[in-house]
Symmetry: C2
Subunit: 173 residues, 2 copies
DNA sequence: TATTGTTATACTCTATAACTATA
DNA sequence: TATAGTTATAGAGTATAACAATA
């Protein structure tokens, strides 16, 4: 991809480079021109996404939940009684990759696999009481620290418009 | 308390699961409820970004350019005479990871490293004639096949508003 | 035979340390 | 000593094949 996760402090690409008074004539110093790049939706989308995930992780540091883990907890809470294949595929996670993610959540006693009586191949997923409690705290953290900051930055109306357009892209593009 | 490992008698866990016309008792279910997930900006942002990159790759299949490679070509064209560190850090690519990316572009004769005369440690980056030609074709493909589709989907005004909000997030969040 | 969860594996992207050659 | 490019390497994230248990 174009952008790295926590690369360096944003905006220090030209750190330490001075243009004024460069007697040697080497070293243009200004920030590079992004040019058409700043009009490329994919580029800006990716950089925005990294920023948002980064902030999410900071907000969730106390609960140690990644965006993927949070999405699993939310989906299991909303759809109790579903099996691994259903939860994973809804989130776009491949079944093999879902195993380790679930192992992690289960080892922390946040969710549990229950062998289905109807189809003994299936593992029904449910949140444990601890999982429910953690999810409740997580939602509060996300709302008060994460999403609220986006509201402040964009404004409530804009944030909703943004969400709508992104949903349209995600679903119809 | 924690959830028991033994399956429950599908009481409320499977509530509302059965398809209306399901003759067998095996019930494929309806689509899962995303619930609050569809309001999580990070989640929707990520899915939108994946869709956009996916489409980008399809549009660029003939030229075999990834988003990252395209961004490098664009930036080198706009900022000739810059070295690897400057180009890479502007794009948020770490220097070690930039080496293989450049090796690829150079092996395809799209860009070239030129040892700087001022500082023989530096490699100045330039596009080759082939690189310029390919980039011109790439820009046309992106404009006519990729970005234009986004315009159709969102509308010109909305697309600009989207870009502006994403830029704001990328730069100020 | 088909499906669920799983293992093994591979490939990409990202991240850090350390080397070399210059400065 | 510090910096530019590089190598090696490790860790996530994502992808496919195949196996055991079950249907």
């Amino acid at each position: 991809m174009t952008v790295s996760k926590t690369a360096e402090k944003s905006g220090d690409a030209t750190k330490g480079r001075k243009d004024a008074g460069d007697a040697q004539g080497q070293g243009h110093a200004e920030v590079l021109q992004l040019g058409e790049l700043s009009e490329q939706l994919g580029y800006v989308l990716k950089r925005a996404q990294l920023k948002v995930f980064e902030n999410f992780l900071r907000c969730m540091a106390t609960l140690q939940l990644t965006p993927a883990q949070f999405s699993v907890l939310l989906l299991v809470e909303k759809n109790p009684g579903r099996n691994q294949t259903e939860i994973a595929s809804t989130l776009g996670i491949l079944r093999p990759n879902f195993v380790a993610l679930l192992d992690n959540l289960e080892s922390r006693d946040l969710c549990a696999r229950i062998r289905s009586t109807n189809d003994r191949r299936s593992h029904i997923l449910v949140l444990t009481d601890k999982g429910k409690a953690v999810l409740t705290r997580a939602k509060k953290l996300v709302a008060t620290k994460h999403e609220s900051r986006l509201n402040t930055l964009l404004g409530q109306a804009n944030r909703e418009a943004l969400l709508e357009m992104l949903s349209k892209i995600a679903n119809e593009f």
